[in-house]
Amino acid sequence: MDQLDGQETDKGLSLGTLAARAIGKFLLSFALVFGLFCIPMTVIGPGYVRAFCVLGNAILPEPESAQQLAFRLDPARPSQARPWQAQLDVEDRQAGTRVVMPLETMSLTYIPLITFLALALATPITDRRRELLILVPGFLLTSTITLLLVTLSVTSILNDLSPIRLFNFGPRVMGVLGVLFRALMSPGMTYAVPGLLWWFLVRVTRPPRSTGRPDPRARSATRSRP
C-alpha cells in the first residue's frame, strides 16, 4: 500500500482502483501467510507449550528463601481438547497456599506473534533493509508485549481470585492493572495489538517523499535499462 505513493495513473486506472487492488492484494497475501502459520496449529501445540514452559521457567525467578513465592510452568495434562494449555504453579510457602493457573498459550502468545509476522511478510516492501527494520524489532516488540500481557493476566487473575499476591502495589495501581488487563486481554486485542504495532513501524520507517523533481540518478538508471 505504501508503494502507491508517487504511482502514476497514466494506464487508465484511477488511484482509487490502484489502492483497492493494492489493498486486496495485501489482504490476500496476509490471509495466505496467516493461513500457512495456522496449518501446523493442530500438530505443534504440545511442542510449543513445552518450549513455552522451558523458556518461562528460565525467566521466572528462583526463590532464594522460604518467604518468597515459588513458580513453575508445566504443560497441562495431555488432552486432545486443550493441546495449547500450560499451567502455572504458584506456591506461597510461608502461608502454605498453592494456586494452579491455566494459561492458553495459543491466544496469549502464538496468535499475536503470527499475526505480526503475517502482516510484516505480506507488506509490499521492496527495500530489504526496511523490511528487516519492520520485521526484527517488530517481532521482538511483539514478543515483549505478549510476555507483559502474560504477566499482567497472571497478576490480575491471582489478585482477583486467589489469596496469593504477586505484587503489592496498593489498590490504585492494582486498579489500573485491572483496567489494562480487561482492555488488552479481550479477544479482538489479540489481533489489534500486533496490527497497531505493525502500522506504527510501517509509518515510522516510511522513506521521505520525493520533491516532485526527477532524480537525475534514477533517470540515468532507467535509460541504461534495455
Binding site: 489482504l27 491466544s107 482492555a183 479482538g188 489479540t190 509509518r203
Partner: protein
C-alpha cells in the same frame, strides 16, 4: 577510530546530521504522529470508561447491565426469526443452546478502536460523524450476526465453539473494522467540499 578520538568538528557535524534526520522524520510523520496521539488518547479514555471496575450497585454498572440486556434482546430477536422457541431472560439467550452476553461479547474493543481511529482522522466533522456512525452500525450488525452464528455453532459444532468465539470471529471483526476504516477515510477524502 573511537568516538572519543574523533575531532570535535566531526562529532558536531555528525550530531547535527542526526538532529536533522530526527527533525526531518518528525516533520514527515507529523500528520501520522498527530493521528496516533489523538487515536491513542481517545481509545484510552473509552477503554477506561468501559473497563473501569465500577461498584456493583452503582449507576454505571446498572447502565452496563441494561445495555447488555438490550444487546441480548437484539440478538434474541434476530435469532427468533429462525427459531421461534428462543427466550431471552436478562442477558441470557436460551434455546437449543444457551448464550450469556457479558462485557466483551459486544465486541467493544473493536468498536472503540474503530471510533477512535475515525474521530482522529483529519477530515471535516460533517463527514467524520456520519461516517463514524454508519461504520459503527455496520460493526454492531456484524457482531449481532456473530452472536447468531455462535448460537448455531453451539448447536451443530460444539467442538468448534471455542475456536470460533475466541480466535476466528474476533479476527473477522478486526478485519471488518480495518476495511471499513480504509473505505470510510477514502470516502471522506474523495467527497467534494462545498464552497
Amino acid at each position: 577510530m573511537s568516538p572519543a578520538g574523533r575531532p570535535l568538528r566531526d562529532r558536531r557535524a555528525s550530531a547535527s546530521r542526526v538532529h536533522e534526520r530526527v527533525i526531518g522524520a518528525a516533520r514527515r510523520n507529523r500528520a501520522s504522529l498527530r493521528f496516533g496521539i489523538v487515536f491513542a488518547s481517545l481509545a484510552s479514555v473509552l477503554f477506561v470508561t468501559y473497563c473501569f471496575p465500577y461498584s456493583k450497585s452503582g449507576a454505571a454498572e446498572t447502565f452496563f447491565q441494561w445495555y447488555l440486556r438490550g444487546y441480548a434482546w437484539l440478538a434474541g430477536s434476530l435469532l427468533s426469526v429462525l427459531e421461534p422457541s428462543i427466550k431471552v431472560a436478562g442477558n441470557q439467550i436460551n434455546g437449543r443452546f444457551s448464550i450469556e452476553i457479558v462485557k466483551n461479547c459486544d465486541a467493544m474493543e473493536v468498536n472503540i478502536l474503530f471510533v477512535s481511529a475515525m474521530l482522529a482522522f483529519p477530515a471535516a466533522w460533517s463527514r467524520r460523524l456520519p461516517a463514524t456512525l454508519a461504520g459503527l452500525s455496520i460493526l454492531i450488525a456484524a457482531n449481532l450476526l456473530r452472536i447468531c452464528a455462535l448460537y448455531y455453532i453451539g448447536i451443530y459444532a460444539r467442538g468448534a465453539f471455542q475456536f470460533a468465539h475466541i480466535d476466528l470471529f474476533p479476527l473477522l471483526l478486526v478485519v471488518t473494522a480495518v476495511l471499513e476504516f480504509i473505505l470510510w477515510t477514502n470516502w471522506m477524502d474523495k467527497r467534494p467540499t462545498r464552497a
